[in-house]
């Protein structure tokens, strides 16, 4: 029962303290929201780009355009040889005629008709090699480049590397930005709680004189900081949930990739936002209370 009294006492005083200096508390809460919105944006974009990366990874393939005039037997031999290379999942032969049909199809998809103007186009026959290990792309393409039966080797490695580079830059810049905003948030909370402590200086003095324990003096202030973090996290979660559906197609448009983020990530993100909000609130107020209340005794 004493513990229940302690919790009740601390929560009530934290709530009173939050509204006693409402401007300051709300300003601190606003910075928490700013930080968490930035964090959400970063995480959503990075998660989206990572799923784009996975898409490319699943498609990572090597296309070997073959020299003209290979016999069916030669093609079959080459296919078996390539299949034996480690990291290769499967090999598919695309004949010039099949390549032509694909080209016509892709034109039809965009609503046009392939018009060769009567000329005959001869496309390369090719082997489409899919990999189960994206890192094998290098060795496979190196081997095929030197092969006399192969005209040219095309890979998606460059595309993959570019996207990976972009993700890394966004992640680094984002984390540095969030780190700076996080420091601002910390200072805001430290200051808010410091002002709360000063505005209750008389009460704190009386609490000490009548024998209140340190935890009764400190916890209301720590909870007040946690309250800033909690309110900030809840507001951010609502904001993210509201914009969740519209931003999914927008990201696909911007990045030209299947970057959709699963709805399950929203739950994970909410838990993370709560943890970060509560954590920064508790840390800020703890620092404040530690430095200002210990000095006074």
């Amino acid at each position: 029962m004493p513990f229940v009294r302690f919790i009740g006492f601390s929560i009530i005083r934290a709530w009173q303290g939050f509204w006693r200096n409402a401007m300051m508390s709300l300003a601190a809460t606003a910075t928490v929201i700013l930080m968490l919105v930035l964090l959400s944006a970063l995480l959503i974009v990075i998660t989206g780009l990572n799923s784009g990366l996975e898409f490319i990874e699943s498609k990572v393939a090597v296309t070997a355009q073959l020299e003209d005039g290979l016999t069916d037997a030669a093609v079959a031999t080459l296919t078996r040889e390539v299949e034996a290379v480690p990291g290769v999942a499967s090999v598919e032969y695309v004949s010039p005629a099949a390549a032509m049909r694909r080209l016509e199809e892709s034109y039809r998809e965009t609503g046009q008709e392939l018009d060769t103007g009567g000329a005959t186009i001869r496309l390369f026959a090719s082997l489409e090699i899919s990999l189960d290990d994206p890192d094998a792309s290098g060795t496979v393409s190196a081997e095929l480049t030197d092969d006399p039966r192969v005209e040219r080797v095309l890979t998606k490695q460059a595309e993959y590397d570019t996207l990976l580079g972009i993700i890394n830059v966004i992640r680094t810049v984002g984390l540095v930005g969030i780190g700076l905003v996080g420091l601002t948030v910390l200072f805001m909370i430290i200051n808010t709680i410091r002002i709360a402590v000063y505005s209750r200086a008389n009460e704190i003095e009386i609490m000490r004189l009548v024998g209140a324990s340190d935890s009764f003096i400190r916890w209301p202030f720590i909870l007040e900081g946690i309250l800033c973090g909690l309110v900030g996290a809840l507001v951010t979660i609502v904001l993210v949930a509201v914009v969740w559906d519209p931003i999914q197609p927008a990201m696909v448009t911007i990045f030209q990739m299947p970057t959709a983020v699963s709805a399950r990530f929203l739950t994970t993100l909410s838990v993370l936002l709560l943890a970060v909000g509560l954590g920064v609130g508790a840390l800020g107020s703890w620092i404040s209370v530690r430095s200002y209340l210990s000095a006074a005794r």
Partner: protein, 220 residues
């Protein structure tokens, strides 16, 4: 007791106060009365020597034990130190709330004490609606809420007119008769002379007099 700035506030003071006593602490400003009181409630730890209060050795006391000591000592001040936005009832109950006392105890103790100090009719008044004497009674009720062994009164009549001062002294005597040790720091000669209790006189950080049934000034 030497402060960090090098000022010696108290030196060679040897005093023992028995439980149930009523003792006056007198002396000019700066004589060391406030330091004496701060040592008793362990707001300060002596740089040399030892202080024992209600069975506790304050020098060896851990920080976590200080609240327990403070509950054994009630303290009132010249300026009352009431919380202006709380009623009389809330000011007294505050001392119980912040020490985690159950509601049932609060509901039982607060009216008892308001009756003792004669303020049960003013329970829901704010300090600004009270006279100085009533504010000091509220402070005394708050100081007694944990049923302390010792009541320290630091110039309790300093802001009060003579008639009200006497009323407060009557209340302190009544509390002393109920078994609480009372230590009262004061400049009020009239009261000290009329009461004829033990007097501790400090001057320049030294205990210059410790006499039973004494007056404010030394009598020859």
């Amino acid at each position: 007791m030497t402060y960090p700035n090098g000022k010696v506030a108290l030196a060679d003071v040897n005093v023992s106060i028995q439980g149930g006593d009523f003792v006056f602490l007198v002396g000019p400003s700066g004589a060391g009365k406030s330091t004496f009181i701060r040592l008793l409630i362990r707001e300060q730890v002596p740089t040399a020597g030892n202080v024992r209060v209600a069975g506790h050795d304050l020098h060896r006391m851990r920080r976590g034990q200080v609240p327990g000591l403070r509950r054994r000592i009630g303290i009132v001040f010249q300026d009352f130190r009431l919380l202006p936005n709380k009623t009389v009832w809330e000011n007294v109950a505050f001392a119980l709330d912040v020490t985690g006392s159950p509601r049932a105890i609060v509901r039982q103790r607060v009216p008892q004490l308001l009756n003792l100090v004669g303020l049960h009719d003013h329970a829901h008044h704010l300090p600004t609606q009270l006279s100085g004497g009533e504010q000091q009674r509220t402070a005394i009720a708050r100081a007694l809420v944990h049923d302390p062994a010792i009541l320290i009164a630091d110039e309790p009549t300093g802001n009060l007119d003579p008639v009200t001062s006497w009323e407060i002294i009557q209340l302190l005597i009544q509390i002393n008769e109920l078994g609480t040790t009372v230590l009262m720091a004061t400049h009020n000669q009239e009261i000290v002379n009329a009461m004829r209790r033990r007097v501790l006189a400090l001057e320049g950080g030294q205990l210059v007099r410790d006499e039973a049934a004494a007056a404010y000034e030394r009598e020859y």
